[in-house]
């Protein structure tokens, strides 16, 4: 098929404005698509040409920002990363991600998710404040050490894994695969010293032990992150700590570098 050849496809779209409507409904639109049209392109075409009231969230259009996750034909997918014709279906069903509060139509509320993320301190924690403020070198990291966490660092926070997780569906306090993967990404980073600080949250009743390891999360991840594996590795780290007293925080060597010497200007209130 040439790229330009257009085919008419039916879109069945979930519509709901909880502020003024009592129950959701489905609305149908017909859109002409070609081989390169993504679901996001089609939705934007509907918005531009047929129904400007349709609410969608997106930003990068290239599977980087994680904004456009939605249920496409009942599966969690990025709208900007899914071509309409590759779905091989005459009717494309589009709905908001499951397991989230709906703001409007296809836009879901990630606020609770990001609040949970804050609890696991998703950043590198170090205690050598002087070195951080006036760097004299760089922290040594071997290739092996990098490979241990790089896969988990690829997460774009699209929240689709949480949407596919059966435990997140029943237990609203469960941290969920996205957050647990974030926690493991930093715990397994050799520069991080915050393992103990994160324990209270990840080793709680609603932390990583609630995972059933069905791996639905990894199956829908558009970046191949494999959060289910991160959770299993996190459990190993927790058992090592609880039973053998071995912490996952490691000592990292500082390689002195003359040329990066200098004082960092930090915002007020940081000290």
């Amino acid at each position: 098929m040439s790229v330009d050849k257009e085919i008419e496809v039916r879109f069945k779209i979930f519509r709901f404005n909880p502020k003024i409507e009592f129950a959701p409904s489905w609305q149908e639109y017909k859109v002409k698509v070609n081989r390169s049209t993504t679901v996001l392109d089609a939705l934007l075409k509907i918005k531009e040409e047929q129904d400007p009231t349709l609410a969608i969230r997106y930003s990068c259009r290239q599977a980087v920002c994680g904004s456009c996750g939605m249920m496409i034909n009942d599966k969690q997918m990025l709208a900007c990363f899914t071509r309409v014709l590759e779905l091989g279906s005459d009717v494309i069903k589009v709905a908001p991600l499951k397991n989230y509060r709906i703001i409007k139509d296809l836009v879901t509320d990630f606020n609770e998710l990001f609040q949970k993320e804050k609890q696991v301190k998703p950043y590198i924690i170090r205690h050598d404040l002087e070195e951080l403020l006036s760097p004299t070198g760089t922290y040594k990291q071997t290739e092996d050490e990098l490979l241990r966490y790089i896969q988990f660092a690829d997460c774009i926070e699209c929240g689709m894994c949480n949407s596919a997780c059966p435990v997140s569906a029943t237990d609203p306090l469960y941290l969920g695969p996205m957050i647990l993967n974030r926690a493991y990404r930093f715990i397994s980073d050799p520069r991080d010293l915050g393992f103990e600080q994160r324990l209270k949250v990840i080793d709680s009743e609603h932390g990583c032990w609630r995972c059933h390891f069905a791996a639905s999360c990894s199956a829908v991840c558009p970046k191949g992150v494999d959060p289910a594996k991160a959770i299993q590795l996190l459990r190993r780290a927790l058992v090592k700590k609880a039973i053998l007293g071995i912490s996952s925080s490691k000592k990292v060597e500082l390689i002195p570098m003359e040329h990066i010497k200098g004082k960092l200007e930090l915002p007020r209130g940081w000290r």
Binding site: T170, D171, L173, D203, E205, H206, W209, V239, A242
Partner: protein, 106 residues
């Protein structure tokens, strides 16, 4: 107790159930080895270990299911305590049955 310790015990008790359950089955179904086991201290010790592991494994499993189904941090604490108390009661009852069985009071 931390959740990791509770779950570690859950896995360990699962393994103990497999081993002691196997010994229990052999003791009751293979006449030759069964008689030797029955006449040794292994039989009551094995049964008490099976009872301990089963009580823990079963009630911790129920606790995990309930925590998932009943949201709320306070609910999780309450469920843990209730299961703990039910566990103690069941264990005492089971031990008393075994004591009566193996060392009956005349």
């Amino acid at each position: 107790m931390k959740e990791s310790k509770r779950m570690f015990l859950h896995y360990i008790s699962g393994i103990i159930i497999l081993v002691t359950g196997f010994i229990h089955l052999i003791a009751n179904n293979l006449p030759d080895i069964g008689t030797i086991i029955h006449e040794s201290a292994l039989y009551p010790v094995n049964l008490i270990m099976l009872l301990s592991a089963l009580t823990y494994h079963m009630l911790n499993g129920v606790r995990v299911i309930l925590i998932e189904l009943i949201p709320g941090r306070c609910a999780a604490k309450a469920i843990t305590w209730i299961m703990f108390l039910v566990g103690i009661a069941l264990y005492i009852y089971g031990l008393q049955v075994f004591l009566n069985l193996f060392w009956p009071v005349e």
